[in-house]
């Protein structure tokens, strides 16, 4: 019996996973490029400027007014470098997640995002403790960062509202980020062509969950990721790969 390509569910699943893997590699490269750009733009220039300031200081008498001005400028560069280093470290590995847990990490991330982009932000969290394994907590945090990054890149928003909530009688968890920005025609957009959205969708799918967008031009946008809380449900999709 002949079979058309991908007619077998197992073939389709393999094709889907291959596409996902290829995309993950592409994203990995993009992230490395972004990090290199950040190192170039911020660290390279600031460290060069700092070195110049210190060299000027070394050539001036320490107790003169120009020296005080140079110290102030050098300190300002150092403060900016420290801030950048913290941001890059946070992007690579959210330290607050290890120390304070997901809820406080989300709060700190949103506060920082609001301050950097001059946006009003609000965060609603469940009162109950979250008993999440590390992989799931990191994935949720990364999704949150990606959602905020989308707002920053596209929304031109003034306000961002985020909610983490239990659903389905506590069997699932949902993460919502909504903005009051320019919005877009969700039906007319090829959402799969966006790296950010594909990354979100793949993370959600990997956790056995789903992603849902609501938007209209001029009416803001919201994205909600919902995922089951139990690992057995989360890995149900990949297990269909087994021969």
């Amino acid at each position: 019996m002949s079979q058309t390509e991908n007619s077998d569910p197992r073939d389709r699943e393999i094709a889907r996973l291959r596409a996902m893997l290829a995309h993950a590699e592409e994203v990995h490269e993009l992230e490395k490029r972004q990090l290199a750009r950040e190192l170039h733009n911020d660290f390279g220039s600031s460290l060069t400027a700092l070195s110049m300031r210190m060299a000027i200081l070394a050539r001036q008498p320490a107790d003169t007014p120009p020296a005080a001005d140079q110290w102030a400028r050098a300190n300002a560069i150092l403060a900016s470098l420290t801030q950048t280093a913290r941001r890059v470290q946070g992007d690579l590995r959210p330290g607050t997640l290890d120390v304070m847990g997901l809820k406080l990490a989300l709060e700190e991330c949103l506060n920082d995002f609001g301050a950097r982009n001059a946006l009003d932000t609000s965060l609603t969290l469940p009162e109950q403790e979250l008993a999440l394994d590390e992989a799931r907590a990191i994935a949720l945090f990364r999704m949150f960062q990606e959602m905020l990054s989308n707002v920053q890149r596209h929304a031109q928003a003034g306000q961002v509202r985020a909610t983490l909530a239990f659903e389905q009688d506590g069997q699932a968890l949902s993460l919502l980020v909504a903005d009051d920005g320019v919005g877009f025609d969700a039906a007319a957009h090829d959402l799969a062509s966006s790296h950010g959205i594909r990354r979100l969708a793949e993370r959600a799918a990997f956790l056995g969950g789903s992603l849902h967008f609501v938007s209209a031009p001029g009416r803001g946008a919201s994205v909600r990721a919902t995922m089951p809380l139990t690992p057995t449900q989360a890995i149900s999709q990949p297990t269909t790969l087994n021969p």
Partner: protein, 106 residues
């Protein structure tokens, strides 16, 4: 950087973009130009040949000062007309040694 070089006795002009750099070079006839690659408008790769054309047969050292540090970035800078490719972060003392060495040659 300009402050440090001035403090060390060099006569320095600065420009915020490629077009202003060309204007400054036309008036100032620099012995040595330090230029970033990622400039607004005309980038460093476009600026280098324009500076060469402006200088004509006059000797002028062109150095790219950039964070683009891959071998292919260096090749591209040299192809564009730069004599040197310095990579950020650059230490002040290394910059002064570099300028000292090339100022003596021009």
């Amino acid at each position: 950087m300009a402050e440090l070089l001035t403090l060390c006795g060099h006569d320095v002009r600065t420009a915020g973009d490629g077009r202003k750099a060309l204007e400054a070079a036309a008036q100032f006839a620099p012995q040595l130009v330090l230029s970033d690659i990622g400039l607004p408008g005309m980038d460093g790769y476009q600026l280098a040949p324009a500076l060469r054309r402006l200088a004509g047969s006059r000797r002028m050292v062109l150095a790219a000062l950039t964070g683009y540090g891959q071998p292919m970035d260096r090749e591209r800078a040299i192809e564009a007309g730069f004599d040197h490719h310095l990579i950020k972060p650059l230490e002040a003392e290394a910059l002064l040694r570099f300028i000292g060495a090339h100022a003596a040659l021009t």
